[in-house]
Amino acid sequence: MNRNPAELAPEQQRYLSQFDSFSRRQSDRDPAWLTEKRQAAIRCFTRQGFPTTHDEAWRFTSLTPLTRTAFAHAGATDSRPSPVDLDSLPGANSSACRLVFLNGRFSPEHSSLGALPPGVRVQGAGQLLNGDTPSVRQALGLYAGNGEEVFAALNTAFLQDFALVHLPGNTVVEQPIHLHFHSGSEGDPVVSYPRCLVLAGANSQARVVESYSGAPDSLYFTNTVTELVAREGAVVEHYKLQQESLRAFHISTMQFQLGRSATVSSHSISLGGALVRNHVNAVLDGEGAEATLNGFSLTTGKQHVDNHTSIDHAKPHCNSFELYKGILDDRSSGVFNGRIIVRPHAQKTDSKQTNQNLLLSEEALVNTNPQLEIYADDVKCTHGATIGQLDSQAVFYLQSRGIDREAARQLLTFAFANDIASQIRIEPIRARLEKTLFHRLAEKGSKG
């Protein structure tokens, strides 16, 4: 380690001492390769510490409320989140394939596999780390959590149970695969480290839903990492539905790795959380790959949602479509930072980025920043960002046809989310989004 532990900030010390007791406990159960991964990750965390608003990438998102809260490591205490009605979550019907994790730990009694095609593995456990699974072992932490992203590194350091979705080549899984993470505690605030690994073999197809929830009003910290590898010709839809408690901290890293002609679409929906930061990174690492990154956030009160996305066109002839939309009310705030990298030989890249924000109150605030780094010359890259209020002309138009003002405003707010919602092809997820939107707007309407 480069730094003398005594020099470290107290908030960092806390995580380090949690790591010490965690690794001591795990050391004789876990294989050496895993211990090494964790050690490397914690070194990365120690070296870097938590970012501050002086770091360019965190300029608009202050972590102070997070770092000054003393979260206990949920994995150490086996604390369970307050009971939740898991049946109300998408994918609750018994025939569905659903893995449930409580505070990051796999909960077999809440999980079911449904009928999966032969060869498909959907597992949620730490034991398999011990099994003979070289492809998993290799992939885990290869794409995220091994570098500069301090939160992803922290997640790897505390890696324990994780959700694995493994599709052999040419398999098609029709039904959505739900991975649900429910967190929080009735006692002291806890931190948990959900983790997903999706390996989609060549020409396989699947839809994966990650959802996050917590007991209402519970204070906790979810630090999650997902790595998704789509091999040649694979088609994967990934949905992330984040509806944490309104006091929760949620930091996520999603890493999508696309091979030749692979198609990945990501739909990241942020509805909950007090302070939310999503890192969504796609690497187009094979010719003809196509990534769609969609994002939607709806914030009220003092919620803060920060989406940092990155699309790396590493190979020629790849397409990327990015659409991030935010609806911000009250004193909530949002950040969008969209980085597009086109590598020198990545000719014929076609990339389109759009960020649109709808402010429903005078006090809501958005920072949007496209970050284009284009090193090839024969490419098509467009980007655009808007921040605005509801179109008063449109409100009047609707009113002039008999629709009352409040209904007109709701209709237009709904319409703003429409192009995101209409691309969600899993009905319960879309319904959830629309319902939340509807409720929040109705609440606002009744407040006047």
């Binding site: 008063s392 009047f396 002039s400 046809r401 008999g402 003002r405 237009l412 319409a415 429409n418």
Partner: protein, 257 residues
């Protein structure tokens, strides 16, 4: 049915309408003509309830009700319809959803039951034929990507579905070819009934060949400076507005005795 008395309107502090007087009785069709920027759309929008246009003086009666006291949606529910000169594009809201919401709001206001989906679609299919729009327009977003002519026809289509009592058409004929113009005129004429009234704002006489007005008014500089029968439109077409403006300028005493 509609009675406008000494209406003064300011837009962003600038006086636009400077004492408009106009009376339209049931069963009548009135045409309002006038040069660009004279305040025709301002008048139409004020009648429909546009809030950013400030009425500083005057009154407007719709039947025996004070129109200016009503919210825009209430006016619509009570039968006022204004076809916009520049219809607004609303991405993400389908025409059919929009119309259904509008129609049901109006029916609710009248104490009628909401139409079920089947009945509603029947009305919609029937009316859209009337304006010669393809059925596919029903499911497209309101006015989004419509051509100028399609937008105008969409206004008439909405009018046909909502079946108003007082219709105000703001340059619905502009930019239409002759076939489309006839379509629009047919739509308007279909609405013509003894218990209805129609105000047509236009620059061109040619529409008035198809919708024959009872009265023609010239709005200039925020006032109605001349009124007459349908022949006035022909005269305006032949001579332009200059002669009226000149006439008005030399006879101020006559105007304000």
């Amino acid at each position: 049915m509609l009675k406008i008395e000494d209406l003064h309107v300011e837009v962003e502090g600038k006086p636009i309408l400077k004492g408009v007087n106009l009376e339209v009785a049931s069963g009548e069709v009135h045409a309002i003509m006038g040069p660009n920027g004279s305040g025709k759309s301002t008048l139409a929008q004020v009648l429909a309830g546009r809030e950013s246009f400030e009425v500083t003086r005057g009154r407007v009666f719709y039947g025996d009700r004070d129109l200016l006291d009503m919210e825009p949606e209430e006016r619509a529910c009570e039968g006022v319809f204004m076809a916009f000169q520049y219809p607004v594009e609303i991405p993400g809201v389908s025409n059919v959803y929009f119309l259904k919401a509008a129609m049901n709001a109006i029916r609710k206001h009248r104490g009628e039951e909401e139409l079920d989906a089947m009945e509603f679609m029947k009305v919609v299919r029937e009316k859209i034929k009337l304006v010669n729009l393809d059925q596919s327009f029903i499911s497209r977003s309101v006015n989004e990507g419509f051509s100028g002519g399609e937008k105008k026809r969409n206004e008439i289509f909405q009018m046909a579905v909502l079946d108003p009592i007082l219709a105000i058409l703001d340059e619905t004929d502009s930019g239409l070819d002759i076939d489309a113009l006839k379509t629009v005129a047919d739509g308007v004429n279909a609405l013509r009934r003894p218990d209805r009234a129609i105000v047509v704002i236009t620059h061109y006489q040619r529409l008035l060949n198809y919708i024959v007005p009872d009265r023609v008014h010239v709005l200039s500089g925020g006032e109605i400076v001349k009124s007459g029968d349908k022949d006035l439109a022909l005269e305006l077409e032949a001579r332009g507005y200059g002669w009226i403006e000149a006439q008005v300028a030399v006879t101020p005493a006559e105007r304000h005795p």
